[in-house]
């Protein structure tokens, strides 16, 4: 289905606006003046380490917490002080919170009955949800007679049944094993696109966030560090903290120096002079970080072949391999540079039999292009 794969339109109407929201627990500011816009039909992920305030933010959207300051506008209406049962928002709970005394059908129908929906319509909606989430045949079961994956789908069906304006998912897949989690992530994306609903997911698993979300908000200490698409987040992190939180990265501190054509030379203590692509915003600080993802660092015995374009500006660092971890698809190396610093490199195992692989204590040249580096000022 081609139309299902369409990217959400850039001009999608604004659904949710969070304005300078603060939530304090005693002296601790769990959410500290956070603002965020979420568009209709978007799959948005809140990503962050535990204790960063992402769950508190989600609970404020659901109505279980009330902001101490700021506004939460849903369709232009401030819902910050509204009780949970009055909001057109539903939540899928981390441990599903299925009612243990009710059957699957009754769990799904619970929210519909509270809406005062007529019985025949409730039955139709429940049947629809059972089919949508592949729960047919399980309607008479009680939650403790379901597998983890089935419980997860019932919880989702129950939250979706009322067709909320906004669906909140609190670590929805945390209790599933890895394989099931991956297939469920894809199901979740497909479901969201098919229903055209707005999902906000909270997760501490960056792979999950990157897989499912259109945009990711990275949170730390109650604030948003960066809001961006998964690709931007990974390739253009806004800060050193984001760069280090999302994926692996090599970071070298140094002073920005001369400019050569479109290049900026940063002189670092650990890796000497590194040529980096001229950042879009001119560098203002006297100390910056140069960040390179491990998969952008290539290893070779003699360095890059000289007929490459701009060969003169390619960064070359020499060192000794200290650690080799074979991970199947990729092999991850640690190279001890002559300065003593550690550089990480991961290379795809593109051939089954690789006569060119490196081993510990081997001397190698690590190289990467200026375009693969990111300059971070904070």
């Amino acid at each position: 289905m081609v139309e299902d794969l369409a990217e959400p339109q850039q001009g999608a109407p604004l659904l949710l606006r969070i304005e300078a929201v603060v939530r304090k627990f005693g002296a601790f500011r769990a959410v500290d003046g956070l603002s965020l816009d979420i568009h209709a039909g978007e799959f948005f992920a809140l990503l962050g380490p535990s204790g960063c305030g992402k769950t508190t933010l989600l609970r404020m959207l659901a109505g279980f917490e009330t902001p101490d300051e700021g506004r939460i506008l849903l369709d232009g209406k401030d819902i910050a002080q509204m009780l949970p049962h009055q909001r057109p928002v539903n939540m899928m709970f981390q441990n599903y919170a299925l009612f243990p005394h009710l059957t699957v059908s009754d769990n799904i129908a619970f929210g519909l009955k509270r809406m005062g929906m007529p019985r025949p319509q409730i039955e139709m909606r429940v049947a629809e949800m059972l089919t949508l989430l592949k729960l047919d045949g399980l309607q008479a079961r009680k939650p403790d007679q379901l597998s983890g994956g089935q419980k997860q789908r019932v919880a989702l069906a129950r939250a979706l049944a009322r067709r909320p304006r906004l669906l909140l998912l609190d670590e929805p897949l945390a209790a599933l094993d890895k394989k099931l989690r991956e297939s469920t992530q894809l199901e979740l994306m497909e479901l969201q696109r098919r229903l055209g609903m707005t999902f906000v997911i909270v997760t501490h698993d960056q792979e999950e966030a990157m897989t499912v979300a259109d945009r990711i908000g990275v949170m730390d200490a109650g604030r948003l560090e960066q809001v961006a698409t998964p690709r931007q987040l990974y390739e253009e992190p806004a800060s050193r903290w984001v760069a280090e939180f999302v994926g692996d990265i090599n970071i070298f501190e140094g002073q920005p120096g001369s400019r050569e054509a479109s290049r900026l030379i940063v002189s670092t203590r650990d890796a000497g002079a590194i040529a980096v692509a001229q950042p879009a915003q001119p560098v203002t600080r006297s100390t910056v970080c140069v960040a390179i993802r491990p998969e952008k660092v290539k290893l070779s015995r003699r360095g890059p072949v000289s007929d490459m374009v701009n060969a003169h500006s390619i960064n070359r660092l020499e060192g000794v391999v200290t650690d080799v971890s074979y991970l199947g698809g990729v092999t991850s190396y640690k190279v001890k540079l002559d300065s003593g610093a550690i550089l990480r490199s991961s290379m795809a195992n593109t051939a089954r039999i690789d006569i060119d692989s490196y081993h510990a204590s081997q001397r190698v040249v690590a190289w990467f292009t200026p375009d693969d580096c990111v300059v971070l000022e904070q």
């Binding site: 009780l83 949970p84 049962h85 928002v89 009612f99 243990p100 619970f110 009680k142 129950r158 939250a159």
Partner: protein
């Protein structure tokens, strides 16, 4: 294989001990009572003529043919016993209802307290157990009697102009019952309410249930096992209760425990008293078995 390894020798012993206990201290004495209930009263020591005596060997069998159900027949025909049973069940039912009405909100409030206050509340519920039950009931006599604390207080406050009769009334008895059994109602209810996942209440609110709806649709049904445990823990001993009605209630109508006592100690009619005890046990066992059956059927239906 692993299943067998779980039941190591000490484990097997641990399983046997409660059964041995039940056999020794429940089934064997019950067999004695049953035997006495089937015999005839006699002016002797002990005051009944044994129906079977193992020492007599084969003659026992012959004697067994003379088993007498006379005592049971008497229980069914004499209105004294029937009224005693009915009164016991009625008193237990009303007392248990009052206990549930008082115990539920208390347990609910306890479960909602902050964690460190829950322990304090629990202590307050348990503390009365540190004093002898009998002494506590006597204390109520002190409070309720003609020149007791209650009358003195009401007189001093000019609520009443003359001392009122509190003691030896049904009201005093119900007061004593509720007072004595309240912890047995609160504790199982508290246990079931305290372990309830607060996420369930949030889920109900999230799905549009008001607070009252959340209580009736989620909290209450999930606390039912605790409520049933509390009801059984109160109802069963109250049916056979002797001390509270004997000390606090009037003497015009008796509960079965008092009737039993009279038969044993005043009338010295052990066989009738034993028969009354056997019937009492049946009265209590039947609803338990019924409840157990119901619960099992629900479990099976759910599979």
């Amino acid at each position: 294989m692993t299943a067998r390894r779980i039941f190591t020798r000490p484990a097997r012993l641990a399983v046997i001990i409660p059964y041995a206990w039940m056999l020794l201290f429940f089934l064997v004495p019950f067999a004695f009572v049953l035997k006495i209930s089937l015999s005839q009263p006699a002016i002797a020591q002990p005051p009944y003529s044994p129906v079977f005596d193992l020492a007599q060997g084969l003659a026992t069998l012959k004697a067994a043919a003379e088993l007498s159900l006379d005592n049971f027949r008497l229980l069914l025909t004499d209105s004294l016993y029937i009224f005693s049973y009915l009164r016991s069940v009625a008193v237990a039912a009303l007392s248990t209802s009052i206990l549930l009405l008082i115990g539920y909100p208390v347990a609910y409030g306890m479960a909602r307290l902050p964690q460190r206050w829950q322990a304090v509340a629990m202590m307050l519920v348990i503390v009365p157990f540190w004093t002898s039950f009998l002494i506590r009931v006597y204390a109520w006599i002190n409070i309720l009697q003609h020149d007791g604390l209650l009358n003195k207080m009401l007189l001093a406050l000019h609520v009443i102009s003359q001392p009122m009769v509190w003691l030896s009334t049904d009201a005093a008895m119900y007061l004593g019952m509720v007072y004595s059994y309240l912890p047995f109602m609160i504790l199982p209810l508290y246990a079931s309410l305290a372990k309830m996942d607060s996420a369930l209440l949030e889920a109900a609110a999230d799905l549009g249930a008001s607070r009252l709806q959340t209580f009736w649709l989620v909290t209450f049904p999930l606390s039912l096992p605790g409520a049933i445990a509390g009801v059984l823990l109160c109802f069963i001993p109250i049916v056979g209760e002797f001390v509270v009605p004997d000390l606090l209630a009037g003497s015009d109508s008796l509960m079965i425990g008092q009737t039993l006592w009279l038969e044993f100690f005043s009338n010295k009619d052990w066989p009738v008293a034993s028969a009354a005890a056997v019937v009492l046990l049946l009265v209590l066992v039947v609803p338990l078995v019924f409840y157990d059956r119901l619960q099992r059927r629900q479990l099976e239906a759910a599979r």
